[in-house]
């Protein structure tokens, strides 16, 4: 069993890293809370709360734009030009609001990092999921309030059910990513070991996760026609393993994975959009509400896309710094991917079990 010990040790190291992430999160959260403009001790209590931190500023801006929406919709009833103001406010609100919860920003960024996606795909995913969020909000309000004239209670219950479903989906999605990335990570761990140890593991223990070990020669369809010298076995003997090639990612399977991400993120509409839609409906300005919802979505998409690009580039930089070409670097990158997958799972589970109280639907 001796050869197994190093991976176990590294596994423990990975766990320690994960715990560190949680610890840092926790600490940083308290830091942010402490710095929040509404909470920070102030010299002049009469002064307007000042945005001393980025998060505080975002929070203040969102609230400001959001609160302007109802008065603008009212104004639009008598003055058509207020619709343009409404559209601008909605767009700005979307941009700021996407920095907050409920827009799958963390899910999309983690997914992109875990799956070695390109920035371009990140942008596409962001826009597609934001569009879907807008459509779901419009569908919920359109069907329940406009067509069925359901009460807020019914609508809120539907919203709550969708919310739970979306959290479940995030957790499932994370679980699948963790499974796939865990396997890759374990393989990378084994590949990173000194050769004799790899041989020992490969020959004597048929661990189910060793898809590429030297004995089995289990290849995917895609690898079947390769020359013997170019397959993954060869990689392992050189001390590192490759991820899927770009052509594998761009295949139809790649887009199917993307759609899973869009559905996971996009199924949950933002409560703000629903409130705005119902309010617009009550004012007899349903089209203004719909337009506002789409502009909110557009704003949201821009922020999420920016964060997605940032995540992908950060990972690229990390890859170059760690020298992804050598064994340790590859292992490091697989570790990051596994960590990102674990984040999606943690995030989903956290939301599902109420550990992370994100933008919760409060029905009352």
């Amino acid at each position: 069993m001796k050869p197994h010990r190093p991976p176990l040790g590294r596994g423990l190291l990975a766990c320690a890293a994960a715990l560190l992430v949680i610890g840092v999160t926790d600490a940083a959260l308290h830091d942010l809370l402490a710095q929040n403009p509404f909470g920070a001790p102030k010299l002049a209590p009469a002064a307007e709360p000042e945005a001393s931190s980025l998060v505080g500023w975002l929070l203040a801006k969102q609230s400001e734009f959001y609160r302007q929406m109802s008065s603008t919709i009212r104004a639009a009833k008598s003055d058509g030009s207020a619709v343009w103001t409404l559209l601008f406010i909605s767009f700005a609100y979307g941009i700021f609001h996407a920095a907050g919860p409920g827009h799958g920003k963390a899910v999309i960024a983690s997914y992109l990092v875990a799956n070695r996606e390109t920035a371009r795909r990140g942008i596409a995913l962001s826009f597609a999921s934001a569009l879907m969020q807008s459509l779901v909000a419009i569908l919920i309000v359109g069907i329940s309030a406009w067509i069925l004239n359901a009460t807020a209670r019914t609508m809120c219950k539907a919203e709550g059910a969708i919310e739970i479903a979306s959290y479940g989906l995030i957790a499932l999605f994370g679980l699948r990513l963790v499974w796939a990335k865990g396997l890759t990570f374990v393989r990378a761990l084994q590949a990173a070991q000194p050769m004799p140890a790899v041989a020992g593991v490969a020959h004597h223990h048929h661990d189910h996760s060793h898809h590429h070990d030297a004995q089995d020669h289990h290849h995917d369809q895609a690898h079947a026609h390769r020359h013997p010298g170019h397959d993954h076995v060869h990689d392992e003997h050189r001390g590192h393993s490759h991820g899927p090639t770009p052509s594998e990612l761009a295949g139809p399977g790649g887009w199917r994975r993307g759609i899973a991400a869009i559905l996971t993120v996009g199924i949950r509409p933002c409560s703000g959009a629903i409130l705005v839609l119902v309010f617009a409906l009550a004012q007899g300005l349903v089209w203004a509400g719909i337009a506002a919802t789409f502009l909110m979505g557009l704003g949201t998409a821009i922020t999420v896309a920016a964060i997605a690009v940032l995540a992908v580039s950060a990972k690229g930089v990390a890859g170059r710094l760690s020298g992804a070409g050598d064994g340790g670097g590859a292992l490091f990158m697989r570790g990051i991917e596994f960590g990102a997958a674990a984040l999606v799972l943690l995030f989903g589970a956290g939301l599902l079990f109420g550990y992370i109280a994100a933008e919760r639907t409060t029905c009352f």
């Binding site: 308290h30 509404f38 909470g39 963390a106 359901a150 807020a152 760690s322 109280a357 409060t362 009352f364």
Partner: protein
């Protein structure tokens, strides 16, 4: 190692930003009355919560009214019922401490909604499980997840009804950080990561009766 640390920080920030930048979707302007018995003990709290007009429009969606755009107390009865029933899950967003000891409330009584100038106001009384006669009573009104932003009304936010004349009332509004700094030390670190996120938005009513 630096890269690793960087990515951990980035990942942590993503999560943190998600948890911490929730912003309210419902605004409530509140007035509260502290009810006292003849012997000077506190028996309960009577709240009047006025919702913002967006949420008010949302809440009355689908309700039948004889006169369009005007809802009577009777027509709003079922909604008021729903409100107080649902509020139970959130402990009525009302937290009382008598000389540092947590006090509990009974189910609300005398509740109703009225609709005026396109906004809803929810009135309800929360009787204390056991009337108390503390030297210091602290009452906090807030939503810990900050989905709802509670603001005490500008004028006459808190009334002491039938309190002994020696009692002094003090209101700490959320923007006044003095109360918050202390609370962050007390509880924020003992509970879940953002269980007390809304704490800093708490309205804290302190009544000292020497």
């Amino acid at each position: 190692m630096r890269a690793l640390f960087g990515s951990l920080l980035a990942a942590a920030f993503t999560l943190v930003a998600d948890a911490a930048s929730a912003h309210p979707h419902v605004w409530i302007t509140a007035t509260s009355e502290l009810l006292y018995a003849e012997d000077g003990s506190v028996t309960g709290v009577r709240h009047a919560w006025t919702f913002d007009d967006m949420f008010s429009a949302y809440a009355v969606q689908g309700l039948e009214a004889k006169t369009k755009g005007a809802y009577t107390r009777e027509e709003l009865g079922p909604l008021a019922q729903t409100n107080v029933e649902s509020l139970k899950e959130y402990a009525y967003f009302t937290f009382a401490k008598a000389d540092g000891k947590k006090e509990r409330f009974q189910e609300p009584i005398d509740y109703f909604l009225d609709y005026k100038d396109t906004v809803l106001t929810l009135h309800f009384t929360l009787p204390l499980k056991d009337p108390v006669k503390p030297r210091q009573l602290v009452l906090e009104v807030f939503d810990r997840s900050f989905f709802i932003d509670f603001q005490m009304a500008k004028n006459n936010p808190v009334k002491l009804v039938g309190a002994p004349s020696a009692c002094q009332m003090k209101l700490d509004r959320p923007s006044d950080g003095t109360a918050t700094a202390q609370k962050l030390n007390e509880q924020t670190f003992t509970d879940g990561p953002n269980a007390n996120f809304g704490m800093m938005f708490a309205n804290k009513i302190t009544v000292d009766c020497p």
